[in-house]
């Protein structure tokens, strides 16, 4: 793909800086890498600021009110006001809290959340580091943040914080499983763990079909989206850290800047999940038109996905913690495993081109479009079967519950009648 405008611009800046440090190329490299990291972090942090503003406005509109509009025109300076508020709050530390653990936990969450941006491609050739295991790196970063949550819960010297931390960790670790299982079909189709290869597979460059993976695996995309929402502990899965439940969970003892870092970690994670979803399933920076428009297409896709996140937050009630675990282990994981098996088998039977059939020796050649249609139909069929089975199961459970409730009520009435009769 020809290099985009953004890549040429960044290359020019990089070469200029390396020219300054031409006496020692090692220092020049380090300075350029440091500058790139700072730019990435600034992009993530500034988007976090205005994401909070967008979220408050959109959720307000869904709830039929206006949202913040006093600080600055249309409330655009609200993030700055929030920042000032966070800075000037008193920085408390509970007594007998483990000082090191308590103070380092928010740092670690922020670091891990921001490190996830290093492998995301923003335009052709514009990526922090072109890791060939990018997808796995993203998931490993997500699991690194879990350690920070335990540290926060334990370091607060507060029973409720510890319990909240345990439950949050159970949720996060549980929803990693369907997340990884649903990335597998994408990785299998693209043949690589690198985000750049996955994006190129969804463009029409160099013989690739221009079909985004959401048209191949809609079920995987939906389950991945839901797991992503649960991973970042956003509504409707925020039972464990909402202010009105378990006293705000693991960050109850944090105030001021440290709480701001937790807040930043949550929103930066949510934005990272949106970018990852757009890259894996919607095609990332691919889009019609010149490759100059790459970042614009990515922005449009990420905005759409994040709007879906905010929409779900504004409309759905919270999921109870046992319902959430039920849904995960009894529905998502089996469906994801069957999905992976199905994609494996169908991918071997129906191959897109002659060359791939020759490589593995078997396969009906149906072309890229044919393969996409077959995978799409199979995915939808699996989703329909799974949902109907789950619905039948839920109805049977509800009927059983109502029956036991009715019998218990009848027993109570009989007992009270008997008591009244003998009492007289």
């Amino acid at each position: 793909m020809d290099s985009s405008l953004l890549q040429s611009l960044l290359d020019a800046i990089g070469n200029f800086i390396k020219g300054i440090f031409s006496f020692s190329p090692m220092i020049g490299d380090l300075v350029v890498m440091g500058l790139a990291a700072v730019v990435l972090m600034t992009v993530a942090a500034v988007s976090f600021m205005y994401l909070t503003y967008a979220e408050r406005k959109i959720v307000a509109r869904i709830q039929d009110r206006i949202g913040p509009n006093q600080a600055g025109p249309f409330g655009l300076l609200v993030p700055l006001a929030d920042g000032v508020k966070m800075f000037t709050k008193e920085d408390t530390t509970p007594t007998k809290a483990d000082r090191w653990v308590y103070n380092i936990a928010p740092l670690i969450i922020a670091v891990f959340a921001l490190s996830g941006y290093a492998v995301l491609p923003f335009a052709p050739g514009v990526v922090g580091t072109a890791l060939n295991v990018g997808v796995l790196y993203t998931i490993a970063i997500g699991s690194g943040a879990i350690v920070a949550i335990i540290m926060a819960g334990w370091g607060s010297n507060n029973k409720y914080a510890l319990l909240g931390a345990f439950r949050t960790v159970a949720q996060l670790v549980g929803y990693e499983v369907p997340m990884i299982l649903n990335v597998l079909p994408v990785v299998m189709m693209a043949g690589s763990l690198s985000f750049i290869d996955i994006v190129y597979r969804q463009t029409s460059f160099n013989g690739n079909p221009g079909i985004p993976f959401i048209l191949y695996f809609p079920l995987s995309a939906i389950v991945f989206l839901i797991s992503g929402i649960a991973e970042t502990a956003r509504s409707p899965f925020d039972l464990l850290e909402a202010e009105s439940e378990i006293v705000a969970g693991f960050h109850v003892e944090y105030s001021g800047m440290k709480f701001a870092l937790f807040f930043l970690g949550e929103y930066v994670n949510a934005l990272a999940v949106s970018i990852i979803f757009s890259t894996l399933f919607l095609g990332g920076f691919a889009g019609p038109g010149a490759s100059v428009l790459g970042p614009v297409w990515l922005l449009v896709k990420v905005a759409a996905v994040f709007t879906i996140f905010m929409w779900l937050r504004g409309t759905l009630p919270r999921v109870r913690v046992d319902q959430m675990h039920d849904m995960n282990w009894k529905f998502f994981v089996p469906v994801s495993i069957i999905n992976v098996l199905m994609v494996m088998i169908l991918g071997k039977i129906f191959v897109p081109t002659e060359q791939i059939a020759a490589l593995s020796g078997t396969g009906l050649v149906v072309g890229h479009g044919g393969q996409a249609v077959i995978m799409f139909v199979a995915s939808i069929a699996l989703g329909a079967i799974a949902l109907s089975l789950a619905g039948r199961n839920a109805r049977a459970q509800r009927i059983a519950e109502e029956r036991t409730l009715a019998t218990r009520m009848a027993e109570n009435m009989l007992a009270s009648n008997r008591a009244v009769a003998t009492g007289k």
Partner: protein, 240 residues
């Protein structure tokens, strides 16, 4: 540059490992263990095996460390545990012996560190400039040829090829399945009759213990009151 990174990661790993075994707070020990796992991941990156570095973070830090932390937190008396036990001296002696044995096995490597190669900026794929054995198979040329950029594919092929490592892979998955089934069985929801049976057994054991205690405590005070009791009953029967 590579040597600098090697020294940095070594300091992290060894320092964190030292803190794991010497710190008094068990939770801090678990956190230092996590730090040393990060250092090992860094080593994997130095060896240009990125997949294994990320897998190390994902598995060790993302799963095993969390398990260790949960186990530590559910231990009673965690704060007051002393870091020493009575076998510390024996353990130190055995570790010293193993260290000396390993030093003798790697003897040619330690003696022939070529310091001119240590601070090089080449992309040689050897760890820290040390030729790890005099065996020509371990020289940098041989190592460089096995870790090509396609190593993930080779790894996948090795895991599923019946002539390579497919059998250990399947055995490992069977082992994990056994552990999973065991965990679910141990932590299963008990039915009412099972709960009642367990309670009956516990109360039976407690009653047996109490009977054993009472029988053990009986013979001591028995002899002395007997003559007086016999005398008392004799006088009472006389009084009738």
């Amino acid at each position: 540059m590579q040597q600098l990174l090697f020294i940095l990661f070594s300091v992290i790993i060894l320092g964190a490992a030292l803190m794991v075994v010497t710190t008094k707070n068990l939770f801090h020990a678990a956190l230092f263990l996590i730090l040393s796992f990060f250092g090992v991941a860094g080593f994997y990156v130095l060896l240009e095996a990125g997949f294994f570095a990320v897998a190390q973070v994902l598995v060790y830090i993302g799963a095993i460390s969390i398990l260790i932390i949960f186990a530590v937190m559910l231990t009673r008396g965690m704060q007051s545990m002393t870091p020493r036990n009575s076998q510390a001296v024996t353990a130190a002696v055995v570790c010293g012996i193993i260290f000396v044995v390993l030093l003798l096995v790697f003897q040619p490597a330690i003696i022939s560190i070529d310091f001119s190669r240590v601070i090089s900026t080449s992309t040689a794929r050897q760890l820290g400039g040390i030729p790890w054995a005099n065996d020509p198979a371990f020289t940098s040329k041989a190592v460089a040829s096995t870790m090509t950029d396609d190593y993930i594919r080779a790894f996948g092929n090795a895991l599923t090829d019946p002539s390579q490592y497919a059998v250990p892979f399947e055995l490992a998955s069977v082992l994990i399945l056994l552990a999973l089934i065991g965990a679910i069985w141990v932590a299963r929801e008990r039915r009412p009759f099972e709960i009642l049976a367990e309670r009956a057994e516990i109360s039976r054991e407690l009653a047996e213990e109490e009977a054993a205690d009472a029988a053990a405590a009986q013979p001591a005070p028995a002899p002395t009151p007997l003559p007086e009791a016999a005398h008392a009953t004799a006088t009472q029967s006389d009084g009738h």
